[in-house]
Symmetry: C2
Subunit: 304 residues, 2 copies
C-alpha cells in the first residue's frame, strides 16, 4: 500500500442497489461504480448515508467493499465508510478496509447517544484510532448532524488533527451550513475539506476546499463536476438548485433510487433497505414528471 493521496475532486456517495431478497446486489453495485468512474467521478464511497450504510450489517458492508475490489476497482478510488453505533463494529469495518488495501475511511460519530460533549466525541475517535492502531489509516470525519444528531465541532476536528496529524486526513461536511465549513477551512487548512451540500461547492473551491463527496453524483456527475471548476457559471449554480428544489420534496434516498431506476430503465434500483421504502407510485410519477419538465433528461414514458 503506498501513501494514500488526500481526497480531492468529485467523489460519489454511492447508492446501494438491492437484489430481489433485499440483500446488496454486488453486480449492480460494481457496475454502477464502474460507470461513475468512467464518466469522470474521481472515486466512490460505498455505504455512506446516501448508500444507507448504517442500515447494513458489518458483514454486508465488508462484503460490499470486497465485491467492488473484486470487480477491479482500484483501492485508490475507494473511501470506505466505516462508522457505526457500536465501537467494535466501527473497529471491525475500519480494520477490514485496511486489510483490503483501502486505508481511507469515512467515519460517522456514534449516533445512538445524544448530547455527547466535545470531549466525548474526541475521545471516541481517539479510541477508534488507538484500537485500530495502524499507521496507514487515514480518517475522514463525517459531520452530518441533521441525520447523525451528533455534530463534530471544528474544535474537535482541530484537536484530533493535532493529536493524530498523519491519520486525520479530512472532513466530509454535510451539515449544509457554510459558516461551519468556513470555520473548518480556517481552523484545519491542512485537511481535505469536502462538502456534501452541492450548492456550496463553488464557494468552497474558491476558499481552498478539496472537493465533494455527494449523492447527486450518482445521477448527474457532470452537474456536480461543473460546480468544482474555476469557471463555474451562474447557470451551473442555478441548475443544481433547480434539481434540489424538485428532489428534496421527497425522502432523498428513495427519490435518488427512483431517478436511477428511470435513468437506467432498471426498476430493481427503486428499492431502499428498511426503514426506508420506495416512493409511492404517485409521488414517483410526480417527481419524474417534474424533472422531465425541468429538462433533466428523464422521460416518464421511458420509465420502467
Amino acid at each position: 500500500m503506498t501513501e494514500p493521496a488526500p481526497i480531492r475532486g468529485l467523489w460519489c456517495a454511492t447508492l446501494t442497489p438491492l437484489d430481489q431478497d433485499g440483500g446488496v446486489d454486488h453486480a449492480r453495485l460494481a457496475a454502477h461504480a464502474r460507470v461513475l468512474l468512467a464518466t469522470g467521478v474521481d472515486g466512490v464511497v460505498p455505504f455512506g448515508t446516501t448508500g444507507e450504510g448504517p442500515s447494513f450489517s458489518v458483514a454486508e458492508r465488508s462484503e460490499g467493499l470486497n465485491a467492488l475490489l473484486a470487480s477491479g476497482i482500484a483501492p485508490e478510488r475507494l473511501l470506505a465508510a466505516s462508522g457505526a453505533a457500536a465501537l467494535p463494529d466501527a473497529v471491525a469495518l475500519t480494520r477490514h478496509a485496511l486489510q483490503s488495501g483501502c486505508p481511507r475511511c469515512l467515519v460517522l460519530p456514534p449516533f445512538f447517544w445524544k448530547g455527547l460533549t466535545d470531549e466525548a466525541v474526541f475521545r471516541y475517535y481517539a479510541s477508534l484510532i488507538d484500537t485500530v492502531d495502524d499507521a496507514r489509516l487515514r480518517v475522514y470525519l463525517y459531520h452530518i448532524p441533521q441525520i447523525s444528531a451528533v455534530p463534530i465541532r471544528p474544535e474537535v476536528v482541530a484537536r484530533l488533527s493535532a493529536a493524530y496529524p498523519d491519520i486525520i486526513a479530512g472532513v466530509k461536511d454535510s451539515g449544509g451550513d457554510f459558516e461551519h465549513t468556513a470555520e473548518l477551512l480556517k481552523r484545519v487548512p491542512q485537511l481535505s475539506i469536502l462538502a456534501g451540500h452541492e450548492p456550496h461547492l463553488p464557494r468552497l473551491m474558491r476558499a481552498g476546499g478539496a472537493g465533494t463527496i455527494c449523492g447527486v453524483a450518482n445521477l448527474f456527475p457532470d452537474l456536480v463536476a461543473a460546480l468544482l471548476k474555476p469557471d463555474v457559471s451562474p447557470d451551473d449554480e442555478a441548475r443544481i438548485r433547480s434539481f434540489l428544489d424538485i428532489v428534496l420534496r421527497y425522502p432523498f434516498v428513495p427519490a435518488f433510487k427512483a431517478i436511477r431506476a428511470a435513468q437506467t430503465g432498471d426498476p430493481a434500483w427503486r428499492a431502499p433497505r428498511p426503514p426506508l421504502w420506495p416512493l409511492p407510485e404517485a409521488e414517483r410519477a410526480t417527481l419524474l414528471a417534474a424533472l422531465h419538465r425541468a429538462g433533466f433528461g428523464i422521460s416518464s414514458e421511458t420509465d420502467p
Copy 2:
C-alpha cells in the same frame, strides 16, 4: 418453551459491567442480575439503553445473553433487547434470543434515519416480525424518542397490535410524557404498558399499567418497588424525585455506574463503553456526597 407471560411488575434495565479490556464482564453481569432477582426484581433486561446496548456488537450482546442463561437465570426472567440500526442485526439478535429460549424481545426503532413517517416505522417492525417468522416471538416496542430520535406513536402501536395480535405484547414507554402513556393505555389496553420514567409509576399503576422497566432498579430496587404498590405514599414519591433531582444533573449511565461502584465497593463498575466515559473525579465526588446528604446510604468514605 411455554407461552411467555406478559411482563408485569418491576423489571430492571440492567447496567453492563466491563472488564479491564473494555469487554462485557460476564461474571459481574450475571452476579449483578442474580442480586437484583434475589432482592425482588421480577426480571432483567440486558443491553437496553441503561445497558448501553447499541454500543455493543451483535456478538457481544448475544454472548452476554448466553452468559446470563449459563449462570442459571431462567429465560422467564429475561427480556432481550434486540433492536439495532441495521435490520439484519435486529433480526440476528431477535433470532438468537428465540433460539436461547427467550421469546420476549424489547425492540428499539431503527435510530439512524430521522423524520421517519408512521408508515415507515410500522413497516419496519412488520419486516422484522415477518423476517424472523416465529410464532413464539413476543415484541415489546421501545419508545424513547429523546435518545432514539424516532418516536413510536400510539397509532403505530395500535396498528402493529392489530396486525400481529399474538406477537406485539407491550410497550416500554420511556418518553417521560404521561399524556403519551395515557393514550397508549386507552388505545391498546390489551398490551403491557411499562413506563421508564419512575415518577410516573403510581399514576401508571392506577390507570391499569403493567409496571416498569427502569434503570433506577439497578441501584435502589426497593425505591421503585414502592412506587408500584397500591399503598404508595407521598414520601415514596418524594424520594424518587429527590434521587432523580440529584442524579440527572449528570449523564445518567456514567452516574448510575459510579453509584453502583460506590454501593458495591467495586471500582470496576465505573467504566461505561465509549462514547460514554466515566464521570470526572470531581463530579463523581459531588454526586456521591449529594446522595449521602440526601440519605441514600452512600458514603463518600467507603467509596472505593
